[in-house]
């Protein structure tokens, strides 16, 4: 498998404005030097808690947000080298503008968390799903409607749903409409931003099954952002854990959940409630509150809450290194 998308030293900061004239008082370092490679055809999970930057990362790599620095290499054929040298400029989408950005949108799409707010309440469903076809001048009118109907079949909707408004559907169905909209231009890369978090538990499973089927049918690559670790464990091939804007661990899904190495990952996994009253999980309760991403601690960002913090952790930031085959950690313990 070769990478379809690689980010190098990606940074996205949000300025904090305050005072009378709105001067820049500081920055929220939402995504701070993130290096990740996503392989073509895989489901790459990105987990972390609120404020860790996973949603910002997802939106930045598809250029909904403009990165402050760093590179995003994207090749829909999936033939990037694992560590692209800086000369591969033609694949770098970090600095793209208007025209080229628009054609990028045919290949990279996003499905949002809340299907009630991600669909225009005043547009008919068929117009919502057909809009990308019209914008990219692929087709329109009857031809577009035919394509919408064909895609409806794949996502589990019916022809009588065409001329309805989003509010007439259930949460699960709305999410399917959002998925159809994302897939109508046959993109190769989809960011799924917590797509099952706002949906009922019983519907979740059917959506996850749908994602799997569509991936095989259409050869898609997913970046699956979630805070629901049980879903990530079941669906994803590889998983990265983020904390306060940085990646702290990356590994294959099974390996990560069986042998978490980073103290934060261990604490995170131990916090998941198990649906079995007999097993009592030994819980690692983290002390203190998650710090604000505007003022991250020096050195290793996790050190104030880490039970195994050493002196070096306070001053030096650990680098993401491969400590086991295909298992990378950013921690001074290794």
């Amino acid at each position: 498998m070769k990478p379809i998308l690689v980010t190098k030293d990606l940074k996205k900061y949000f300025p904090i404005r305050g005072g009378l004239l709105g001067t820049r008082k500081g920055e929220v370092k939402a995504v701070d030097n993130v290096n990740l490679a996503i392989m073509k055809g895989e489901t790459f999970g990105l987990v972390g808690e609120s404020g860790c930057g996973k949603t910002t990362y997802g939106k930045t790599i598809i250029r909904l947000l403009k990165p402050d620095s760093g590179r995003i290499f994207f090749n829909s054929d999936g033939s990037l080298p694992e560590d692209p040298s800086d000369e591969l400029n033609q694949f770098d989408i970090a600095g793209l503008t208007r025209g080229k950005l628009k054609s990028l949108r045919r290949n990279m799409q996003i499905v949002y968390q809340n299907p009630s707010t991600s669909l225009n309440p005043r547009m008919l469903v068929k117009d919502i799903v057909a809009e990308p076809l019209i914008i990219h001048k692929i087709c329109k009118g009857e031809e577009a409607e035919k394509r919408v109907l064909a895609l409806f079949e794949d996502v589990g909707l019916a022809s009588e749903h065409l001329r309805r408004y989003p509010h007439e559907f259930s949460g699960g169905q709305r999410q399917r409409i959002a998925i159809a909209r994302a897939l109508i231009t046959h993109p190769k890369f989809i960011v799924l931003d917590e797509p099952t978090s706002s949906v009922d538990v019983s519907v979740r499973a059917s959506l996850l099954q749908l994602f799997k089927e569509l991936q095989q049918k259409m050869g898609l690559t997913y970046l699956f952002i979630s805070h629901d670790l049980s879903v990530v464990e079941a669906l994803c091939d590889r998983v990265a854990v983020m904390y306060l804007g940085k990646v702290v661990e990356v590994a294959g899904s099974e390996e990560l959940f069986d042998n978490p190495l980073h103290p934060y990952t261990k604490a995170l996994f131990s916090a998941i409630p198990i649906a079995d009253p007999k097993t009592k999980r030994k819980r690692i309760i983290l002390k203190g509150e998650p710090p604000s991403p505007a003022n991250p601690p020096a050195g290793c960002r996790f050190h104030p809450r880490c039970s195994q913090a050493m002196d070096v952790c306070r001053s030096e930031e650990p680098k993401l290194r491969e400590v086991k085959p295909k298992h990378m950690v950013a921690c001074h313990l290794y």
């Binding site: 019983s202 079941a234 131990s270 916090a271 009253p277 309760i285 509150e289």
Partner: protein, 365 residues
């Protein structure tokens, strides 16, 4: 009010509760003859999805049914600290004011929606304390005043200023109480938090404040409506831990509403499963995971994603509660549906000790 309605150890009994919402689209039959029993000191989990009626039931226990909902039948028997059994639905406003916040408290899903953004967090907890524990606080203030009486100046004993100094002492007493409460919530810097506004606090912290407000008057019954759903998983772990410890300290019974079976497995003693407005199964927590009886419960447990296995979902969708299915409301989605299921509504029956199901597959219905 027959005193024997509630057994020795029973704290709350919801009997045949019917709640309907009168909306433009029609009459939503949100809760249809729901039955629940809560024992003293236990944590009862209520599991259900959208439209199950779990939140409406919880709000109705405090007689706070949201408009346009109307309670159209049933009883909610509650035995508080007075030992007297009352039917919450028959109480008037005066009686309800005595119960809400004092005997029965509630914590909600969205902490920042439960806290008033205009007031400091300490003031909001104080509101709860002053509403129900005013005599106790005044007593303490008076005591404090007596201790200071020897040092008080002539000025302070003047009638005009007497109340001011008394109020200041009252403030001190209440503030001390709140700081104590915050420490109990495992907040490490209560001095800073007590004067903070809700938006200055994180989600987990806000939820602790909501819990503090709810526990300020040591209620006998705590209703928790998905209090950790919107929180990060590590924060959720902290809050669940806190709730368990507080329960031991205060001795309250808890009704914990959630859709997360993992949370249920962790903190609940007994579990009630609700679907489309009625309770379909009730059992002790070990049993409900080991031997779920109702087809819906089984399907719900199977839909929990597990690595390696395919994803099993429940076919169909939650029914439209304006025109619910006839008979058992789950029958259109049930693999085991029989002809009877579309005609009659199954009653909640005890099949084995402590384990009740509402399904024609079990018992002679």
């Amino acid at each position: 009010m027959p005193a024997q309605v509630l057994g020795e150890n029973e704290q709350l009994k919801v009997e045949d509760l019917v709640v309907r919402f009168y909306t433009y689209e029609g009459i939503v039959k949100a809760v249809e003859k729901a039955k629940l029993t809560l024992m003293k000191g236990e944590t009862l989990g209520v599991v259900g999805e959208t439209g199950s009626g779990k939140s409406v039931t919880a709000l109705t226990i405090m007689a706070l049914t949201p408009t346009p909902g109307k309670v159209e039948g049933g009883h909610i028997y509650f035995k508080g600290t007075t030992g007297e059994t009352v039917d919450v639905l028959s109480l008037k406003e005066a009686g309800l004011l005595k119960i809400r916040g004092k005997e029965i408290s509630m914590i909600f899903q969205e902490p920042n929606a439960a806290l008033d953004p205009l007031f400091k967090v300490g003031d909001q907890i104080a509101e709860a304390i002053l509403a129900h524990r005013l005599p106790e606080m005044l007593e303490k203030a008076n005591q404090l005043k007596k201790e200071k009486a020897n040092n008080s100046s002539f000025l302070k004993s003047l009638p005009i200023l007497r109340n001011r100094s008394r109020d200041k002492l009252l403030q001190q007493v209440v503030r001390k109480e709140i700081l104590e409460l915050l420490r109990l919530m495992e907040i490490s810097d209560p001095e800073r938090v007590i004067d903070a506004y809700p938006h200055e606090l994180s989600g987990g912290m806000q939820q602790r404040i909501v819990i503090a407000t709810a526990l300020a008057c040591s209620p006998t019954l705590l209703l928790a409506d998905e209090p950790t759903t919107n929180l990060d998983v590590t924060v959720q772990a902290q809050i669940l831990d806190l709730i368990t410890r507080l329960k031991r300290r205060f001795g309250s019974s808890i009704i914990y509403i959630t859709h997360d079976m993992g949370v249920i497995a962790e903190i609940c003693d007994r579990v009630a499963v609700m679907y489309a407005g009625s309770v379909v199964e009730v059992a002790p927590v070990l049993e409900i995971f080991k031997t779920p009886l109702h087809p819906y419960t089984k399907a719900l447990l199977e839909s929990i994603p597990r690595p390696g296995s395919s994803f099993k979902s429940i076919p169909g969708t939650v029914p439209n509660l304006v025109t619910p299915p006839s008979g058992c409301r789950f029958h259109p989605r049930c693999y085991h549906a029989m002809e009877k299921c579309s005609r009659e509504i199954p009653e909640l029956k005890e099949i084995s000790k402590g384990h009740c199901v509402a399904c024609f597959l079990y018992g002679d219905a």
